[in-house]
Each structure stands twice: as C-alpha cells, then as structure tokens.
C-alpha cells in the first residue's frame, strides 16, 4: 500500500500534447492513402417526410470519374445500438431533411459532389411532425410503421403503432396523496431545441473493402468496437473481418460514439472493392446530417412541505428524438431513471418518452439527457424555494441526495458529497452577498444549480487492458479507450505507472486504437473511462507486477510479499536488494551459473466489467441497482444583464464536482473550465428550421458558439474527493457533468438579476430584452 503516490494525483504533462502542438498529431483526414483513394458524397433528402417513389442514378453514373452509385436497395439491413431502426440508405421513405438516399463514389470529392447533384429522386411528400407533443398524438403522421418488427434491447420499451420509441416509467411512493401534504407546489413546462456538438473536427470515415472480405474502417471515433459491432451486424460482415482504426479524435462530445455516417463509407466501399473510399462531412452536414442533441418538452410538478422538504414530484419528459432513435431511446431511459435530479424525493411519478420527429437524428451529446432535464428541474427547484421562502442554496443543502438514501429507482445512493460541492460554489461566488453591478444600466444576479449523472450503459459494458514491456523496461499500455482531448491516454499512463511502480515517462499508450490489436473497450462515452478503463489498466499493471515479483522472488529465494517495484526497480524490503526491470521483463533471468533461465516476456492483462447492475421493473422503474454510480456537482453563476440591450455578461462560474479521486487534478480542472464554457455557450445555441423542417442555420455564420471573447471573466473550479467504492483509487468520471447544469444556473442568476424567468431555450439578448420590456409594460 503506497503511502505516497508517484503518478496518480499528480499534474503530470499530457502524453499527447507534444504531437498536438507541433502539428504532427494525426487525425482521420490526415492519413495519406495514395493514388487509389476514392471519395464519397451523399445524396440527401430535401423533404422532412416523404415516400421514395423512384431513384434514377443514370446521369450521375455518366459523369467521368464516377466509379459507383449505391442506394438503399443495395443494403437491406438496418443499423442501431439499442433499437435497430435506421436503414443504411433510406429506401422506402425519408424521415428528415438530409436523410441520405444514395452514395456516390468518384475519383475526387468534387466529381462525387457534382454527380450527387445529378441523382434524380422522385418523392411523394408526406405530412411531417416536428414537435414531440404533436408527434405523440394518436393522429400524428407515423414515421416508423414497422416499429414493432425492429430488434430492440430488452430494457427499451417502444410502443408499436405510435411514434413512441421508448417509454420509461418510474413509480415510487404515492404521489397523488403527497400533493395534499405539500405547502407549496410548482408546476411548469420547459422546452429546449435541438443543438449540435460542434466538434471542431467534423466526421470523417475512410473504408476499404478488400475482395478477400476483409474490411477496414479508419474514422474519428469514440467507439471503434461498438462501431465494428453495429456495422458488422447491419452489413452482414463477420466481426473478425471488420477492423476499425481510430486516431486522435478532434472533439467527440458523444457525436462520434455509435454509428452516424461511418456505415455509409463502408457500404460505398463495397461497391468499389479494393479502393479506399473517404467520406467527410462538411461543416453544414456536421450540423444537420450527423447527429444532434434531442429537443425536449418537460412537464415538471414538484412540491415540498412547510419546512422545505421535497415530498412529491411528477414529471413527463417528451424527447424530440428525430428521425431515428437508435441511441435516443437510452437517453430517454436515463432521463427516466434519473428523472428527479440529484434530490431525495419519497414520492415520484415519472414518464420519459422518446418520440420520433421529422428532424435530424437525436443522439448522445455530453450529458446524455441530464442537461436536457436539469434545465427545467433546477429552475423548478429555485421557484419552489422562492415559494416556500427559502434561500436556494439552503433548499439544495436540505434536499440534495446524500449517501445511503434510497433514490427514485429504489437504489441506495453510493458515496458522494454533494453538500460539499454546494458549499464550495456558494462560497466562491459570495452567495448571500448582494454585490453591485458594474454600471447603473446593468443588473447583477447570482444563481446556482446542482446535478447528478450516472453512466448510462447496458448492464455489462466491459473494459480490458494489456501491459507489455520493451527491452529497456519502458511500458506499452494497450487499451481500447479513445483520446478525445479529455486526457484518457494520460490517465491510462498514470494509472499504469502507479500500479506497476515505474516512472510516468516510461509509459506509452499504444495508439491509434485498432480493433485488430487493441483490447476490447465498450465505448469512450458516459464519463466511464477513468473508472472502467482505469480499473482494467490497474488490473493489468498489477498482473504484470505480480508476475515480475514472483520471478524475482524465485531468483532471490525470497517471498514475493516482501518485494515491491519502485521507480522501475524491484526492491526487497527484507534484504534491501535491488534489481532494475530493464532486460528481465523481456528476457527473464538466468539461473545460477547460467544453469538454465527463468521467466520470459511479461504480459499483464486486466479487465473490468460491473457485475451488479440489475434490470428495472418496466411498470415502476424499480430495481436493486439501476446504475453503477453517480457523479454529483454544483455550479454557481454570478452575472450581469445589460438592461439596455439584454446582453448577458458572466462575471464568474464556480463549479465543484465530486470526482472520487482526481487522477490528474489539473486535467479535472481543464474539464471543469471547458465544460463551463460549453455549458454557457449551449444556453444560447439552437438549430433553427423552417416550417418544412429545412435547416436555417447549419453553419458557423448563424449557429454561433462561444469565442475567446465570450468567456466568463473568471471560472473557478473545486474538486471534492469522496472515493468511489470500485473506482481506481476511488476515481469516478467528470467529462460530461461539467456542463449539465450551466444553463439553469444561468437562468436562475438572470431571474435573480431581473426577476424574469425563461422556461424555453435558447436564451438570447433579444429574448431577455423583450421579456424585460414586457415586464415593465
């Protein structure tokens, strides 16, 4: 048992940063494929909902340089993770503006694009639906008449004959009776639009289908193994024949998990066997032709007693899932079992729906349903606190979920300290102190919001790792987790170094992640990697260490229990002997007088898979263990509103998260900082469409994200460490949590400043100005 850490808990430099600052880091579009490279472009539907009557590709095929054109009839399979509802190319009908109906392969991207514009498709327009409340009505146009025949994960419950792809029910206690005991009740509707991840690197996929049947896919991916699984199944490729390789990802945020456009590259590659086909999304396609965060309409009713204790909650979440909900259904489910937000509430009725709408595909985006539901929840809580005459911070302290409490699914809350997080952020913004604005025409306000999130996964997501050595005892750590910028590779190296007992700079993480050589990792999502991959790497390193100690113990005729590895050397606490790892980790050790040898190449292996997640009752959402754990946190915002223009200037965002154990504290802070700005930016973002579902702002010109000039004057981060029972040294995830509650924290602060509440995102200077003006009238 280490008294002092050598690597873990230290702010060691990132393993990937030298490559990235010199421009030598390779991303998916950087790899050179030579003269045989073809390019693909997609033909996309101009209608939100239509039957495909006829596709004529003849003119496209005549364009010199075009090698193939494929359509839906060439690929009868469907693809999906939790709900297999998406055709490879739309064959009988299109379900959103941008739904791909054909793919063109040519010797250049330019020629492929010209030819794509010559593909003639005859459509019969159908009525379309864009609002989940409209789509859920019995007479709404049906997007998936065959919903009943789709393969679906056992824990997802679609309603065939409707547009409901998932309905999660939570029933706990007796909500109806509880209302009568409430001294105050708040009932509100909250809405938010679709927004996009906006990774600076758009989606890129290159696929080659060899005549031998071996298929290789290079792509910017968070989930090479999951993509292999889904694409293999949908295109009928044996798993072992499909190889997915992913280099550094230039921003994922959930949009590069699962399969979006990668399957098209593979499908097109089949038509031009032996040639790699590159498919890359333009920024415009990235906005509306990959995946987006779902829209939401939330009905929230919450009540407390006279002392401010939460008694009852009734929520209905209607997610606008878009045209295909193969990932969205799990988001609705996660929103369902976590529907209360980070609170202890004894009586809960929750219904969470994922609803098909004729919009871009809703899928995983940082927070996975949590930012969407916290938008309404954290404002409703503020409103309830106000109604009962309680300070919002005090209200959260009283009601926030605490270790050991029984939460909405009947699970016992694991070890967390949300109160500590609340206290830290309240202190950081001088909560309770009314501070003056910077000018007479500005109004200043403070607000806070708390959050929770569990990794939303199937019950059996596995991680594995291998630790191998080079002759000089430098270490190769093999993982399947991806470096998206969050620092996964660095954390893997730190954990391996610590568990082995070698210096941090001896450790290299093998990259790119390649399903042919890398050990299995379910997906780099859900903020699960530090915990799950971390456990696997720790196990693999400990396995290697055990083999080394046994070898040297035998060599020294000592007990392995008396040996250790420190700083790359085996040491004996008993005899005080020392032996460098160099050489022995590959070559073994010679017996006395060279009468034979012992040992050999050391290979450590490890895996981690949670074993304790149980199913949930489909009628009540109750079960022994719904999720693996929760990460909790708090954010407080201090801002000013310019009453003459409605513009918001954020003075400070203070965040505190309980990460269990910060493997690299500075990297945790960089997640907090990035998340605060991402959360702030998302508050003002929205994808806009016209009445026919056509995108109005699919570019940076009119979809604005925060620039360097927009950031808060100050971002403050605090780390709380309440160890996670089964995390490596107690560590749990942070990557998504950092932006979950920023929007409602801002809304609460704006209310504090100007007394106006906003139930609908996005916010904007215009909206705020007009609301203030209306209030005056």
């Amino acid at each position: 048992m280490m008294a002092e850490f050598s690597s873990v808990g230290k702010n060691v430099p990132r393993v990937d940063v030298f490559e990235k600052v010199t421009g030598s880091a390779i991303y998916a579009d950087d790899r050179q494929f030579g003269a045989g490279l073809y390019y693909g472009r997609l033909v996309r539907s101009p209608y939100a909902h239509a039957l495909i009557k006829k596709i004529d590709v003849s003119k496209a095929l005549e364009v010199p340089g075009v090698k193939a054109v494929v359509t839906g009839k060439d690929f009868p399979g469907r693809i999906g993770l939790y709900l297999v509802d998406r055709p490879i190319f739309a064959a009988d009908r299109v379900r959103y503006v941008g739904d791909p109906v054909a793919g063109v392969v040519a010797v250049s991207e330019e020629i492929a694009e010209e030819a794509a514009r010559l593909v003639e498709v005859e459509y019969e327009e159908l009525p379309a639906v864009f609002d989940p409340l409209e789509a859920i009505k019995p007479d709404a146009p049906l997007l998936h008449p065959d919903l009943g025949s789709y393969k679906v994960a056992p824990f997802i419950h679609p309603v065939p004959g409707t547009n409901i792809s998932e309905h999660f029910k939570l029933r706990r206690g007796d909500v109806e009776s509880a209302w009568s005991q409430c001294a105050a009740i708040v009932e509100e509707e909250f809405r938010l639009p679709q927004i996009q991840h906006v990774p600076i690197e758009t989606h890129v996929a290159v696929a080659i289908w060899e005549p031998s049947g071996e298929v290789t896919l290079w792509t910017s991916s968070q989930s090479p193994f999951a993509q292999r699984d889904l694409i293999a199944q949908s295109l009928g490729i044996p798993h072992g024949n499909l190889r997915v390789i992913s280099p550094y990802v230039g921003g994922g945020f959930g949009g590069k998990a699962g399969v979006s456009i990668e399957v098209y590259a593979v499908a097109m590659a089949r038509a031009v066997m032996g040639h790699p086909v590159k498919l890359r999304m333009t920024r415009e396609e990235e906005f509306v032709g990959t995946t987006v965060r779902q829209s939401l309409v939330a009905h929230v009713k919450v009540g407390c007693d006279a002392d401010g204790n939460l008694l009852a909650m009734e929520v209905s979440y209607y997610f606008g899932g878009g045209a295909y909900n193969d990932y969205g259904v799990n988001i609705a489910r996660a929103a369902g079992y976590s529907c209360t937000g980070p609170y202890y509430i004894p009586n809960v009725k929750g219904d969470s729906y994922c609803v098909y709408t004729n919009q871009p595909i809703g899928s995983a985006m940082r927070g996975f349903g949590m930012p969407e539901i916290h938008w309404g929840l954290e404002q409703a809580m503020d409103q309830l606190a106000e109604k009962i005459g309680m300070d919002p911070v005090e209200f959260r302290r009283r009601n926030c979920v605490k270790t050991g409490q029984i939460i909405a699914t009947g699970m016992t809350m694991p070890n967390v300290d949300l109160v500590a997080c609340i206290d830290k952020v309240a202190k950081a913004v001088n909560w309770g102190k009314k501070e003056p604005p910077s000018a007479p025409h500005k109004k200043r306000g403070k607000g806070l919001a708390i959050m929770w999130k569990a990794p939303a996964m199937p019950p059996n997501p596995g991680s594995s790792a291998i630790v191998r050595f080079n002759e000089d005892a430098t270490v190769n750590v093999e993982i399947g987790a991806q470096e998206l910028g969050q620092g996964a590779f660095t954390v893997a190296a730190q954990i391996a170094a610590e568990a082995l007992g070698v210096p941090y700079d001896w450790v290299r993480v093998s990259a790119p992640i390649d399903t042919k050589y890398s050990p299995y990792e379910w997906q780099t999502v859900a903020s699960r990697i530090t915990w799950s991959m971390g456990n696997a790497v720790k196990a693999a390193a400990e396995d290697a260490k055990r083999q080394i100690l046994e070898l040297v113990a035998e060599h020294w005729d000592e007990d392995p229990e008396d040996l250790d590895i420190k700083d790359g050397k085996v040491i004996s606490y008993k005899s005080e002997r020392e032996l460098s790892l160099k050489g022995l980790v590959v070559y073994g050790l010679p017996n006395e007088d060279f009468e034979g040898w012992k040992g050999g190449p050391i290979v450590g292996r490890g895996k981690f898979m949670p074993t304790y997640v149980t199913s949930l009752d489909p009628e009540t959402g109750q079960g022994t263990r719904a999720v693996v754990h929760y990460t909790v946190g708090a954010q407080a915002v201090d801002l000013e509103v310019d009453t003459e223009t409605g513009q918001v200037e954020i003075i400070k965002i203070a965040s505190a998260y309980d990460v269990g154990k910060a493997i690299n504290p500075d990297l945790v802070l960089t997640q907090i900082e990035g998340g605060a700005v991402h959360g702030m930016s998302s508050t003002f973002e929205a994808l806009k469409f016209d009445e026919k579902g056509r995108p109005l702002n699919p570019s940076f010109v009119d979809y604005r994200i925060a620039t360097a000039a927009d950031i808060p004057k100050e971002i403050h981060g605090d780390i709380v460490e309440t160890p996670l029972e089964d995390g490596p040294w107690g560590a749990r995830g942070i990557g998504e949590h950092v932006m979950v509650q920023t929007a409602p924290a801002i809304a609460n602060a704006i209310y504090n400043a100007i007394g106006v509440r906003f139930n609908e995102l996005p916010l904007s200077a215009e909206k705020i100005f007009m609301a203030m003006r209306e209030k005056e009238e």
Partner: protein, 295 residues
C-alpha cells in the same frame, strides 16, 4: 441544398490594368467576376449562390492597395486595402478613427487580413460594417469603367441588398473621404450575437462636429447598418440634432427618430422589433460617447 465541400470550377486571371478588367467584364458579363479579398465571393460560390466562370484578381492594379492622405484633399483608400490595413494605418487612425474602428469590428483578425474596404462596400450587405462610417464620413466611391472614372457619393451608392450603383463593366478602385470637419469625433457601435466578431444585428456610426451654421451649434451624422434594405443615414434624427440643444433629452429624441427611420426585417439573427429597439439603444450610446469627446 447544403454548401458543396469545395469551390466550384472557375478560371483565375490576374489583372494588370484596369482597362483589361473592364474589357473582360464587357466581353463576359455575369460570367466574369472581379474579386479582391474573396471572403465573400468564395463563401457564396460554395453556397451555390453564384458561379462565375472567371474570377479576376484586381488586387494588383496600380494604386488599388494604397492609402493616401493629403492634408488638403483628404483620404483615398484603395479598394483592395484590407480591413486590418485600414484599422492600423497611421493616417486613418489619426484623422479618421471612426473608419478605423469600423474596419476593426469586422469578423476576425484572419478575415480582416483578406477582407477589403472596397469589397465590403461593393457586396452591399445591409450589414456591411464599413458602410455606416463611410456614409457619415461622406465617402465617395470611385468607379472605373468603359467611360473612364467617376465618383458616386456613398449615400447614392447602395441601391438594395447586394445591389449598388456599380455598372456591370465597372470596378471600384478607391474610396475617397473628404477632410473631416474640425473638431469632429465619431464612434461605431455594433451589436452581434457574440461579444466580438459576429455579423451585426445592428450597427450604428455616430459622427459629430461643431458647426456654427447649425442652430444647436453642432451637426451629427448617423449611419445605420442591418436595419433596412441598405445601409442608410438617419437624416431626420440628424435634423433634430442640428436644431435642438445637445444633451440627454435631445439625444433621446434623436435616437427615437433614428429608430423610426429604420425598417428592419425579421431574420434568423434577430427580429425587427429588437433591431428597432437596438437602433435606439446604440444611437443613444453613440451620441453620448461622441458628445463626451466633443465637449
């Protein structure tokens, strides 16, 4: 349709003389397009809005990249002078700081290294950031065409969104700004969705100077962007400021009048109602700021 991945095909020709350009435009008409910075042209071509067969690079015409200040005649800015060059040129900064401020508000530093003053005015977006300043500084657009050189006052140059008084075979070679009146001060205020660097939702240039011929002792000129089919002068507001004594009450009245002179539309960036309100807010702020410099 979404924008294409790259630019469509075209020929690139680098012009050496203005006559060469004029000839080409006469021969090819819409199929030929002069360009300087390209920051607007390339975006439109990718978006499929226009597709010229020939693009004519006029950045190398003699004098078109020069900034010349004459203490008697005023400032001449070559059409291909970039925004950054305008913003930091010592003569512009010293004598036409309003123009420098306006040029510096465009987009990003990278784009300002390519975007040109002439291009910004020629594209005649109602949101063109340098238009209000050019209007209030009483700039004149210098055109060269089949009939030689002519000047068009900025107030007569903008005819509609994307439409100017430039003839089909003419190019803009320079913008001339007369000497500003003695003691003048000006500000360009811009409201975007980001703090800095966005297209304007509303842009207001306020320019004021002492003038004993005005009953109030001062004349103000107000230029508005993004609130009408063209960038325009708020002349009725200007009249109020010429007549009535300067101060908060008059400024409020003028700002209200400027608001009434604006005829914005609803679009994806903002509503007409908000734009109108912001004309008032920014004009008022601009008047206060300029007055502080004048007094």
């Amino acid at each position: 349709m979404l924008a294409r991945p790259g630019l469509p095909r075209f020929d690139y020709v680098r012009a050496e003389t203005a006559d060469e350009v004029v000839r080409l435009l006469q021969e090819r008409g819409e199929a030929a397009r002069p360009f300087m910075g390209g920051t607007d042209l390339f975006v439109r071509m990718r978006d499929g809005v226009i597709h010229p067969q020939v693009v004519v690079d006029v950045k190398y015409l003699p004098g078109i990249r020069d900034v010349v200040y004459d203490a008697q005649a005023g400032l001449t800015v070559g059409a291909a002078v970039t925004m950054n060059e305008v913003a930091r040129h010592p003569d512009v900064v010293a004598h036409y700081p309003l123009l420098a401020e306006a040029a510096n508000s465009v987009a990003s530093y990278q784009l300002r290294n390519r975007a040109t003053l002439g291009g910004n005015l020629c594209n005649a977006s109602p949101a063109a950031d340098t238009a209000p300043a050019t209007l209030v500084l009483e700039g004149r657009i210098v055109l060269y065409g089949p009939d030689g050189e002519r000047e068009v006052p900025a107030t007569e140059f903008f005819l509609g969104p994307g439409k100017t008084a430039r003839g089909p075979a003419e190019i803009v070679t320079a913008i001339r700004y007369p000497l500003p009146p003695k003691g003048a001060a000006g500000r360009y205020l811009k409201l975007g969705r980001n703090k800095v660097g966005d297209l304007s939702i509303v842009g207001v240039a306020v320019f004021g100077f002492p003038d004993e011929t005005a009953p109030s002792g001062y004349r103000f000129r107000i230029g508005l962007a993004s609130v009408a089919p063209v960038p325009l002068r708020a002349t009725a507001a200007e009249e109020i400021l010429a007549e009535e004594p300067p101060g908060e009450e008059t400024f409020v009245k003028a700002a209200e009048e400027a608001m009434n002179e604006a005829s914005p539309i609803d679009d994806v960036r903002a509503s007409a109602a908000y734009r109108k309100a912001m004309v008032r807010a920014l004009t008022l702020r601009g008047l206060r700021a300029v007055w502080e410099q004048l007094a």
